[in-house]
Amino acid sequence: MIILSHIFLGSSENWEHLKETVLFDYVFNSLYIMVGVAFLTSIIGFSTAYVTTIFSFTFSNFFHYALILPFAIPTYIVAYIYGGMFDITGTVTTFVLNLLDKNLSEVVFFDIMSIEGAIVVMSLVLYPYVYLISKTYLKAESASIIDASKTLGLTQWQIFYKVIIPISRPAIVAGVILAVMEAVSDFGVMDYYGVATFVTGIFRTWFGMGSIEDAARLASILMIFIFLLIFIEKLQRSNKKYKSSGKDFKPIAKIELKGLKNVLAFLLCFTPFFLGFLLPFTQMSYWFVLSYKEVIDEDFIQILIQTVLIASFSAFLITALAFIFVYNVRLSKNKSSDMLTQIVKLGYSIPGAVIAVGILSFFALLDHYIFNFFNLNILISGSIIALIFGYSVRFLAISLNYYESGFSKIPSSYDDACKTMNISQSKTLRKVILPLIKNSLLASFIIVFIEVIKELPLTMVLRPFNYDTLAILSHEYVNQSQIVQSSVPAMFIVGLGVVSVLILARNMIKD
């Protein structure tokens, strides 16, 4: 609300300057990125989802999981690695030029450090959104539709473009919107590749021009962009007419591919896996081996501990808060509590930079008017409290989603049964609800933990002076053109993410 209120502020000198110079670029570049990422992620995500769901080919079972792996590496880290490999002085560029014995001016060169480069990199990391949603949809819905199409005499190709693509449209759009929302909110990639978007603009206006009001005004325009996307997504979901009941579920009998088709299907899946995960991960590992001795010292260990501590504490707090929210809605069956939960959930769709601006403005007001008024010597802005508050606003939605999904599997008759047996509320919670919700609780904790470790813009703005996290350290190395060294904190971020996901997966399988 604080951010949105800035849209109604009167004009300022800085704002006029922004309007005349960069505002058009922000709007154009943000739209260009949205269109580009939407185009690429829909093609990569849907084609791989279709091929791995309908066909059986070499390593198809492996790709089923491997295609999700790009999610494990934060986009900004992939961007740093790609920059280090493919920019004009990058390792791969230099290697190829040496091999060809040519200068840069003598060859056709795709500059990765450009808006197009940013689109490609973002798409390689964000396509799993489309892949996952489309695959889930195709697995649930397509078997009987494919059988029916076959009996009507359609060829495999006709089934694909006449039936599968039209029925999958809602799933593709849902995935694309998530990817686009993530892309338009990004700071790390755009900052490193020098692309002027709303998010980088917020930082430049704030730190460069020293104007928090105008930064907030830019943030408010970005928020309108995001809310428009959310609105389209909701509209899209409410218009989703192609829905069948769960009772119709039938597993898909996969078609085995041979010869050239087998090779093509393999390549179709291997390429995004290779470019989105294997290549950056291998390069990152190589750089890690080269530089870990130089980078890992007492300060680094201190930052690692700091990161793990703040991520654990935030994850604990957010998980607990979300539980209170959702359990309260369940108990009270109160529409206003439910509405509050839905509003809180919007937090995740708001870019970290926007939340940071909003929180700073809020705490600045609090520090200035309330604490000063009562002569309290407290300054929340720039403290750990502000940072954790920021994480809570941004990531509470993740936790709420896990709980809502978990609670939806616990029938309300369990609570009613306890009431009729005169079991107290606290005993019902201890003996029935908590044991049944524990997987959601763990999932929430782990996912929030990973997200906090990865979060860059929000941490950059809200952290206390000299308080670094692994994400900040990685970003700082990149800013000092020390890409190789940046791979060390990046490796720890990815490593912590992978270990956490493995714990989660093991626990879910065990259960």
Partner: protein, 331 residues
Amino acid sequence: MFGIAIKNFGISFGNMEILKEVSFSVKNGEIVTLLGPSGSGKSTILRSIASLEHNFEGEITLNETCSLEKNSKCNKDIGYIFQDYALFPHLDVKENIGFALFNLSSTEKQRRVDELLKQFDLIEHRNKQIHELSGGQQQRVSIARTIAYNPKILLLDEPFSNLDSILRDKTKLWLKDIIKKLGLSAILVTHDKKEALSISDKIGILHNKTLVQFGTPQELFKNPTNLYIAQFLGDVNILPKSITKQLGVEVQEDETAIVRVKESFISYKKSDIELVINQISFCGDYYELSLYFKEEKTFFIKAVVNYDFDFNEEKSIYLNISRENILVVKT
């Protein structure tokens, strides 16, 4: 002595009135079934008795003296069997059964659980998880869990709806036997008339937001107060006014004359009512016929004849009904 007495009960959700002016009572050891279509408010009455709904009007008194309005704790004598059984999936059979026995010492609890496992034929399943049991076994665990703390009143919300027809018939009789042996006052909610007629001492029919008739199954079956109840409780044929006049049965403007399908005999023996066969369906032991009156071609009736009925297209077919089987009910 009454186990449950309900007086002028009414309930609304928001602006939607669900039930009004419902009054009935259940004696100790009696099984009362509330019968009605989906959404008629049957389960809402049960939930209100169990204090799961609070915003009702009227009075609910348990065991003659305990009024729910005045004392929220008087529902401690209530046992509730849920449609989905509400068994806790993280606990095994014995833990589910002993769940509500928190007031007993562990030895007493163990003894009570063993007793129930034996009584409900669940001993060999005691350590199984709920998902390892069949629907019938799950239901037995659910009843055992409820009986465990010795309730005096049992509320059953569509308890047989998840069972197949053979198991349903078996469980119905078994449950009736348990309720009678323990002398409980029970209210069962269902939309299955066969279930209601066979298990209940009394039936209450809910229609148009209220209780339209309450009595023994025989009373309701023989003397339904209106056409809805007659049709709800059994297959009936509506007789056109021209036919009732012919048969000398007096029917007022707001009344309808009906005869049960099983008492609508058809044969080639001449009577005053000639019929024409519209459709014949073979049902194994019998044929089900759809026929219409020769004089009233828009009036269809249903009749049943034995599987060895000798159909003859050449001959005319007639309806034979005795006057005492014709019921005149409010439309």
